[in-house]
């Protein structure tokens, strides 16, 4: 297992992925759900015989509401995203559809005012920043006793790079999906990102912990090659454990995605992508970065 030797390949893969993600985010933008932008979300189903999307759209436009996004969901139902509407307006829509001969069933209706939406957005941003900060401090603290040959802050720094990597790529993928399939960023997406952060650090720490232990048990490495060897050895020793944990977690999430309730399908998908990327970054990016930084310091 020669992760360190081939690190340049892994760096390139990650660069490409991050580049594509950044591009997607800026080119396509991120579609926000009603959680953040406010508005209403109406989900309807039909017992027998469902109308087409155009018919539903016409009913809504006829009742004076424009700028709606209508998506088909399973069994002929629709998920309708609109501006904030009152109970009366919602009832009018349902009556309108009924008058055309269909039997709509209201599965769920959510109405969020703009103040609540903005608040949710602010809270989400703050929580992400806080988690990132907390993790940096935590990692630096946990590894405070390892100062040779690289200081504990380096561990924290590398962990953050890995974390940013793990956040940007799923977000980029969601920007692409948002453009193609209308996937939205909502509070559950942010939750998934935070879980990914927590998990990715978990994984990264497993490796770093081994590096620390191996460094403690041997003489301080005098050359970069010696350090590389220790890192390689640590990765090799923890590879199986990391892989196992990630695999069992991914299995659990995959089951959730396939058999779980519809409301968390996007949530599970985000987790699937994020944890895969997170595992990859812990093993193939986090540890090699340690050696790269070590080389950098060595040269000074």
């Amino acid at each position: 297992m020669n992760i360190v030797k081939y690190r340049k390949i892994f760096y390139i893969i990650s660069f490409v992925l991050i580049g594509v993600s950044f591009y997607s985010i800026f080119a396509f933008g991120l579609k926000t759900g009603t959680d953040f932008s406010g508005g209403s979300l109406l989900e309807i189903g039909f017992k027998e015989g469902a109308p087409s999307k155009e018919i539903v759209n016409k009913v809504i436009i006829d009742s004076g509401i424009s700028n709606t996004v209508i998506q088909q969901i399973k069994e002929g139902g629709f998920s309708i995203k609109l501006r904030e509407i009152s109970q009366e307006e919602k009832n009018n829509i349902l009556i309108g559809i009924q008058s055309l001969g269909f039997i709509p069933i209201e599965k769920s209706f959510t109405n969020v005012g703009p103040v609540l939406g903005k608040e949710a957005l602010n809270k989400s941003i703050v929580s992400i920043i806080l988690v990132l900060m907390a993790i940096v401090c935590f990692v630096a603290f946990a590894f405070r006793k390892v100062s040779k040959p690289i200081s504990s802050w380096v561990y924290g720094f590398v962990a953050i790079i890995a974390l940013l990597h793990d956040v940007i790529i799923p977000t980029g993928i969601f920007a692409i999906f948002g453009n193609l399939y209308g996937f939205e960023i909502d509070t559950l997406f942010i939750t998934a990102i935070l879980v990914i952060l927590g998990f990715s650090v978990h994984d990264t720490i497993v490796v770093f912990d081994r590096v620390r232990e191996n460094l403690n048990n041997s003489t301080p490495p005098k050359t970069t090659e010696e350090f590389d060897k220790i890192v390689d050895q640590s990765v090799r020793e923890t590879f199986v454990r990391s892989l196992n944990t990630s695999l069992t977690t991914l299995l659990a999430i995959a089951v959730l995605y396939i058999w779980g309730p519809d409301s968390i399908k996007h949530f599970s998908l985000t987790l699937l992508i994020g944890i895969t990327v997170g595992t990859y970054s812990s093993i193939f990016i986090g540890s090699p970065l340690l050696t790269t930084i070590n080389r950098f310091k060595f040269k000074k």
Partner: protein, 429 residues
């Protein structure tokens, strides 16, 4: 060796009992079922904003409690099982501080009914028009009701001090329906004081911020009784009286968010979640057996114990389960494998190095523990921050379940799992 085997048998017995207990609890209509969030039980959530601008900041908290109690009384009237009514203060993000009331009604899907019964409650205020202002209005010949309304001054006498409202018929006006109000002791005193000090002035009676009428005060009114004539039909008067009686709201409220989840959607979600949980457990167990062989089977049992401990905690704390919460539980099962396997793996490593059993156990545990603790702490930090900043109950539910899951996995790793794993370790010596 025997010690571990004994405990293992105990754990097996415990699992069987607990499994039966949980299964039974869900079957009939018992009170110890799992608490389900709205997205699983179906129902309605209404979020109201309370307008606290009319009272002092220091009294706001108390007023919110009074508001909460009043609404709860109303909600209990239409027989909802386990309604949840909470006061919330919005943080400093995105604007000034706002006080909110969250009303959750499981099982109620006729949201129009719900809003009507809760929301259309009038707030009652008595305000004074000082004499000089009255003169001002007369000279300027102001007629706009809104402008005039705003010139009234608050007296502190409002619906909070109302004891009772009754339907009366005004004999002087062809039995027109009028609303008779009686203040409580505090209100009566204040009313007497206001009328005593303001003879000749107009007192404005405001219902929901609208000026209903402004009679002149002719004399001091002791005994705290008054009438609101207005222009009510019998039906309207009855509605106002009913609402006033069930507690005039101490604060005006406006609806800022609603959410309804149909019962069928909720049931679907529960079924899918339970299925997902079962499949997840089976698939992970199969994986463990495939990877670790016999030890994998033992590890699966440790996982079963872990799951059961979690479920019991959810029942007894109790934790409100949402769809995201159950997702969090399933996620934590996947993650629990790590802590629970690691100690065992480490010990195997030490045994391979040739240490004797006791030392291997010790070393293995010590080495593994710091790694487990550190790597799970990051998840705990995430869960805590998520919980504190959660903007929806769905996220809050997830954070709590996730937090419990991580803690229990650490706990079970150093107690139950370790014991079970060692009970089955073949003695190499």
């Amino acid at each position: 060796m025997a010690k571990y085997k004994f405990w293992t048998v105990l754990f097996v017995a415990f699992c069987i009992w607990a499994g039966f207990f949980i299964w039974n609890g869900e079957k009939q209509d018992r009170s110890d079922k799992f608490k389900l969030g709205l997205d699983l039980s179906g129902g309605t959530r209404l979020i109201y904003k309370a307008d606290t601008s009319i009272i002092n900041e220091s009294e706001a908290d108390e007023a919110m409690v009074s508001l909460r109690d009043t609404i709860e009384r109303r909600v209990n009237l239409f027989g909802v099982s386990e309604p949840l009514i909470q006061v919330q203060k919005s943080g400093v993000f995105g604007g000034g501080e706002e006080r909110r009331l969250v009303v959750e009604l499981p099982g109620i899907t006729n949201i129009d009914e719900a809003i009507k019964k809760i929301g259309q409650t009038p707030s009652l205020e008595f305000k004074l028009l000082p004499k000089d202002v009255e003169e001002d209005i007369k000279t300027k010949e102001l007629t706009d009701k809104n402008t005039i309304s705003r010139m009234f001054v608050s007296t502190g006498l409002d619906g909070r001090m109302l004891e009772k409202a009754t339907l009366q018929f005004d004999q002087n006006f062809a039995n027109k329906p009028i609303v008779g109000i009686k203040f409580n002791e505090e209100g009566s005193k204040l009313f007497a004081k206001i009328t005593r000090e303001n003879i000749g002035n107009m007192v404005g009676i405001f219902l929901d911020g609208n000026l209903i009428e402004a009679p002149s005060i002719r004399e001091e009114i002791e005994g705290g009784e008054a009438v609101i004539t207005g222009n009510f039909s019998v039906a309207q008067a009855k509605q106002v009286i009913r609402d006033l009686n069930y507690g005039a709201l101490p604060l005006p409220i406006s609806l800022i968010s609603t959410e309804t989840v149909g019962a069928s959607l909720g049931n679907e979600a529960v079924k899918s979640s339970v299925n997902a949980g079962l499949y997840a457990f089976i698939i992970i167990s199969l994986f463990l057996i495939a990877w670790y062989g016999f030890n994998g089977l033992v590890a699966s049992f440790a996982l079963l114990l872990y799951s059961i401990i979690n479920l019991l905690l959810f029942k007894f704390i109790p934790v409100t389960l949402t769809s995201a919460g159950i997702a969090g539980f399933i996620l934590s099962i996947g993650m629990a494998v790590d802590a629970n396997i690691l100690i065992f793996e480490r010990t195997k490593e030490e045994l391979k190095k040739g240490k004797d059993k006791y030392d291997a156990l010790n070393e293995g545990f010590n080495r593994a523990w710091s790694s487990i603790r550190d790597s799970n702490l990051s998840s705990i930090i995430t869960a805590v921050i998520l919980y504190y900043f959660a903007s929806t109950p769905v996220v809050k539910g997830f954070a709590l379940v996730f937090f419990i899951g991580v803690l229990v996995s650490m706990f079970s790793a150093i107690t139950a799992s370790r014991t079970i794993l060692f009970a089955f370790t073949k003695n190499k010596n």
